[in-house]
């Protein structure tokens, strides 16, 4: 009962906003419009206009960065038709999908576990929080270089493995093997790469997850702090064990944190560039190549191809973000 009276204040404050009492104070709203105008204009120009320009370039004949050719390429969309049949493009799409899925699972699960641990530990809370959050403060290039040494086949962890008597330690980022390959391309098919999990990508995913676990943890810690103690106490009184409390009270109430984590980490995964550049580059047969590196490589030699890849990357992001936004918008309207 106490909780239900404690909760309402939160929704109350955003409540009046949708009712739009604008006419009540026209002066304020005009002033607000003026204040917002520069940022609206700037974001419109630098986001939407530039996306439009990129779309146009991807459809044009503009090849060399320094000599613009804005005539439309014939047949229409030829650049897209050209790149989808490239081995490199197909490898990039495979890699970014695999990277995103495994990275999200690792980072979110790791963050949840770390948060639960810190939330319940009684000594050194601050220390643990700092330890987990610290990697997040570093640049991908810095950690990437360190991880490159760790996963270098001739040094790093393999030294330890060899000293333990393992004669053929893994090649890590140099291993071109595809785990669980779904197809075996002959070279003449449309599909030119094996679709599966590239082994070389796993150390990079691990490094990325390690770095962002702290971020997920911070989100979950905030979520955990907002779970009313009374809920857990009531459950204990009713005889729920630790697992049942976690399963039926904590996790459901952490769902909003999970969604936020998911969305914020997703764009890290789709845009990943610096970490891969530092750790492995494109790798043998593009096993660790990602769209970001593709765009960078083609910027000076094929502006249209780089732009087309950027648009495809944008579409990939939209495919996940738009449903989330729609869901959020609907919720808001219901409220």
């Amino acid at each position: 009962m106490t909780t239900s009276t404690a909760l309402p204040p939160a929704p109350v404050s955003p409540g009046p906003r949708p009712k739009k009492q604008v006419p009540h104070n026209v002066k304020t709203s005009r002033r607000a419009a003026w204040i917002f105008a520069p940022s609206l204009l700037v974001s419109f120009l630098f986001v939407y206009v530039f996306i439009g320009i990129t779309v146009y370039i991807s459809l044009s004949n503009w090849k060399i960065g320094t000599s613009p050719d804005l005539s439309l390429r014939q047949p229409f969309g030829g650049t897209y038709a050209e790149i989808v049949q490239e081995q490199r493009f197909q490898a990039d799409i495979r890699n970014v999908v695999i990277f995103t899925v495994i990275f999200l699972v690792l980072a979110i699960l790791g963050g949840l576990i770390a948060a639960l641990f810190i939330h319940h530990v009684s000594v050194g809370k601050g220390l643990f929080r700092t330890v987990f959050l610290l990697p997040y403060a570093l640049s991908f290039i810095v950690t990437g270089v360190a991880w490159r040494w760790i996963f270098s086949p001739s040094t790093g962890v393999n030294e330890i493995l060899r000293s333990m008597g393992i004669e053929n330690p893994p090649g890590w980022t140099t291993d071109p093997t595809i785990l669980g390959a779904l197809n075996d391309p002959s070279g003449t098919d449309f599909l030119k790469v094996q679709f599966g999990i590239p082994v070389a990508l796993l150390p990079i995913i691990f490094a990325a997850a390690w770095q962002l676990v702290g971020f997920a943890m911070a989100m979950y810690l905030a979520g955990l702090a907002s779970i009313p103690e009374e809920h857990l106490e009531a459950a204990s009184v009713d005889g729920a064990n630790v697992w049942q409390r976690l399963r039926h009270i904590v996790l459901p109430q952490l769902w909003p944190s999970t969604i936020t984590c998911f969305v914020l980490l997703l764009h890290v995964a789709l845009k990943i560039f610096d970490l891969v550049v530092a750790m492995s580059g494109s790798g043998p047969g593009f096993v660790t190549d990602v769209p970001g590196i593709y765009i960078y490589n083609y910027l000076t030699s094929r502006y249209d191809k780089a732009s087309a890849m950027a648009i495809i990357l944008l579409l990939l992001t939209l495919a996940v973000i738009v449903p989330y936004l729609i869901r959020g918008y609907r919720k808001e309207r219901k409220a």
Binding site: T28, R31, I35, P38, K63, I64, G65, T66, S67, P68, E86, Q87, R88, R148, F151, S152, P153, S154, G171, W172, T173, T174, P176, G187, K192, S280, G281, S282, G283, P284, G285, F286, V287, D289, N297, Y298, L299, T300, S301, R302
Partner: protein, 429 residues
């Protein structure tokens, strides 16, 4: 109270932002249209590391000596093997405010600037000074696009050098004979392997190291003339010599360190000098890298030209061009180009940079043993342009080649490599 506060803050932020914008604009102004006239010169390059910066200073001192009172603005941009500098330059070219001169690789890379109408035709300057007769034919040709000169060469690097570790080779009782061709090289390398050592060091985290190895093999198998014809589509990547070269490349790759895709070219060169393997193919910028790492030429490492049926010099060049339009200080830029071609300046530049002079009359007696040998070979060998460094063909073709090599490294599928390269020969040349 709160709302007006917020308003004040946002106004302050807006004011600050516009202030930055305004000062930014005014700071840009003098670069474009200075009142200084001819006593100024702005140079763009990507030479920022120790030896490169020293070499660039030789050129700057040279032009200052030729034109007393000249103030030179060194607008070098570091990083990305020059790609950062080229992006910065591209922005300035599009904005119509170019520097007085900028660094350019000849041939392929030069062509993209010529196609864009951004570099000035220097043919008159070349014929007036009779520069073409002062350098090997291949070098003079590389400074041209469609028969006209657009750049001036300052130095020459060689791409096809095989750096060797004498201790590892003698332990396996192997001597690499440049005249033994690729077959001879491979049997030597197998002998090294049989003696229990790793034959080849390779560091292709940046793919150009592999591209350069494969290009050296193709040149050796097909010969200099056919190599040149690959870029006029008179000789095909489908030719039997190229197929053989791909097989050789695969064999050599199997004899290389397993972690090659995880290490960089300089790490591989140092590995070789440290005795981790017998040979390492790399351009002669590796020489400077090894000497900087306190390795002694002749004892810690030696060198041979990549074995082949003829003496081929895989040319990677440095030069400077000037803008076709809106040149801020034409007279100073002219003096700059003439300074670059001064034999003494070329010698001093080479001594710092580790390259060799492009001009034949430059005195090389003070240069290192390697440089003297390279200079001698440069005068007599067949000079061809490197594809791995986007010189033999334009940037698009070079990128297609780099991608095809990456793919081949993973799959070992020669047919796929040939298919994508023959396709590129038809559409991208």
């Amino acid at each position: 109270m709160r709302a007006p506060n917020k308003l004040k803050i946002s106004l302050a932020v807006t004011a600050a932002a516009s202030l930055i914008a305004v000062t930014g604009c005014s700071a840009n102004q003098p670069a474009g249209s200075s009142a200084g006239g001819s006593d100024k010169l702005e140079i763009t390059s990507w030479w920022t590391s120790g030896s490169e910066a020293d070499a660039l200073n030789v050129l700057i001192d040279g032009v200052k000596a030729a034109k007393p009172g000249l103030s030179v603005d060194n607008a070098a941009v570091s990083g990305g093997g020059g790609s950062n500098a080229r992006q910065a330059l591209a922005a300035r070219l599009q904005a119509g405010s170019p520097p007085d001169s900028w660094q350019v690789h000849p041939a392929g890379q030069l062509k993209s600037y010529v196609d864009g109408g951004q570099v000035a035709d220097l043919t008159e300057l070349w014929t007036q000074n009779n520069w073409a007769s002062q350098m090997p034919k291949g070098v003079a040709e590389a400074q041209q696009v469609n028969g006209k000169y657009y750049t001036v060469p300052i130095g020459v690097h060689r791409g096809n050098v095989l750096w060797t570790n004498p201790a590892v080779l003698s332990k396996a009782n192997v001597k690499i004979d440049p005249a033994g061709g690729v077959d001879g090289l491979i049997s030597s390398l197998k002998q090294v392997q049989a003696a229990g050592a790793t034959p080849v060091c390779l560091g292709d985290k940046d793919i150009f190291a592999s591209s350069q190895l494969l290009e050296s093999i193709i040149m050796s198998r097909a010969g200099a003339d056919n190599w040149k014809k690959l870029f006029t589509n008179e000789y095909s990547f489908d030719a039997p010599e190229v197929k053989q070269a791909l097989q050789d490349y695969k064999t050599i790759l199997s004899l290389a360190n397993k972690d090659h895709s995880a290490i960089t070219w300089d790490e591989a060169s140092k590995k070789m000098a440290n005795g981790a393997c017998a040979v390492n193919l790399m351009g002669d910028w590796a020489y400077g890298e090894l000497v900087n790492a306190k390795k002694k030429p002749g004892t810690d490492f030696t060198w041979v030209t990549f074995p082949g049926k003829e003496d081929i010099f895989d040319y990677v060049g440095d030069g400077f061009s000037i803008p076709a339009n809106n040149i801020p200080h034409a007279e100073a830029a002219n003096a700059w180009l003439k300074t670059l071609m001064d034999p003494k300046v070329q010698t001093d530049f080479a001594a710092k940079k580790g390259s060799i002079p492009a001009v034949k009359s430059a005195d090389i007696s003070g240069l290192s043993e390697y440089q003297q040998e390279a200079a001698k070979s440069f005068a007599s060998a067949k000079v061809v342009s490197s594809l791995a460094h986007a010189q033999a063909a334009g940037a698009e073709f070079a990128q297609t080649y780099a991608d095809a090599v990456s793919t081949f490294n993973g799959s070992g599928n020669a047919d796929a490599f040939i298919a994508s390269m023959t396709q590129a020969q038809k559409t991208q040349l």
